[in-house]
Amino acid sequence: MDFYASSSTEEPHVLAVDDNLVDRKLVERLLKKSSCKVTTAENGLRALEYLGLGADQEHSINGNDSQVNMIITDYCMPGMTGYELLKKIKESSILKDVPVVIMSSENIPTRIDQCLEEGAQMFMLKPLKHSDVKRLRCQLMQCQG
C-alpha cells in the first residue's frame, strides 16, 4: 500500500483514540508538535467508523480513504477496549498493515504481551511525554519511508 507513503514522510496522519478528554487533548498536541496531522476519536466504535470499518459500512477497496498512517489508542475504554480495536484493525485486509500503538496508564506485563502478540507496533505508558512521541515518530518514518 504505497499510495500514502509519500505524504506520510512529511505529515503522517494519526488517528488517536481515547475516552478521556484531557488525554485526547494532550496526545493531539504531542502528535501535532511532532508534525503529525491528527484526528481524534473518543471510543473504539467511532474509530472504526472513521476508518470505514463500522458495522454498517461496506468494506470497499477504497477503504482508508482518510489515509490514516498510524493509530494510537488507549487500552482501557468503555465498550470496546484498545485491544479489541487492535484485533478488529488487524482482521481488516485493508488496514492490517497500519501500525497500531497501545497506550495505558497501567504497566501490566501480560497486557503488554497480549497486545504485542496481536500485532501492536508498540506499547506506551501514560502519561505520554514529548520524548515518547518523538521516538514513535522516528519509528514511523523508518517503516514508511
Binding site: 478521556n20 484531557v22 488525554d23 487533548k25 494532550l26 498536541r29 501514560k126 502519561p127
Partner: protein
C-alpha cells in the same frame, strides 16, 4: 508591581508547587508543549482537567450515595480521575486515587467516602493554586514581561 518582581514571585510560587508535591514533572511537559502557535495550551488543558474532575467528583458523590453502591462504576470514575490528574501533573490528586481504588475493590463504602473527601480537598487545593499561578502569569504579561520558563 514591576515585571522583575512579578517574575520572581512567579518563580517562587511555581517552585513551591513542585516542592510541596502539588505538581510533578508532567506539568513541566505541558509547559514545554506551549509555544507561540499554542500560547494558551496549559490553561486549556488544565481547564479541561477542572471540568472533567468536577464532573467525576459529582458522579462519585452520587454513586456513593446509592443504597446499593455500584463499586465497578465508582472504580471506573476513579480510574478516569487518576488518568487525567496524572496527565496534567496534579500529583497529590493522582496519589489519592490509589487508596481509593483499593477500598473500592474491598467494597468498603465508608473507606470510599473518606477517600472521596480527601480527593475533593486535594482537588480544590490544586485548583486554587493553579488559578493563582495563571493569574500571576496574566499579571506578568499585562506588565509587558515574559513568563519565566522553568528548567
Amino acid at each position: 508591581m514591576e515585571v522583575g518582581q512579578l517574575q520572581r514571585s512567579f518563580i517562587e510560587y511555581i517552585s513551591s508547587l513542585f516542592n510541596e508535591g502539588f505538581l510533578d514533572a508532567q506539568f513541566s511537559q505541558l509547559q514545554q508543549l506551549q509555544d507561540e502557535s499554542n500560547p494558551d495550551f496549559v490553561v486549556e488543558v488544565v481547564s479541561l482537567f477542572f471540568e472533567d474532575s468536577e464532573r467525576l467528583l459529582n458522579d462519585l458523590t452520587m454513586a456513593l450515595d446509592q443504597p446499593n453502591v455500584d463499586f465497578k462504576q465508582v472504580d471506573a470514575h476513579v480510574h478516569q480521575l487518576k488518568g487525567s490528574s496524572s496527565s496534567v501533573g496534579a500529583q497529590r490528586v493522582k496519589n489519592c486515587c490509589v487508596p481509593f481504588r483499593n477500598v473500592c475493590e474491598e467494597q468498603n463504602t465508608e473507606g470510599c467516602l473518606r477517600c472521596l473527601q480527601q480527593i475533593k480537598q486535594e482537588y480544590l487545593l490544586v485548583k486554587n493554586k493553579l488559578q493563582t499561578l495563571f493569574e500571576l502569569e496574566q499579571q506578568i504579561v499585562a506588565a509587558g514581561g515574559a513568563i519565566p520558563m522553568m528548567q
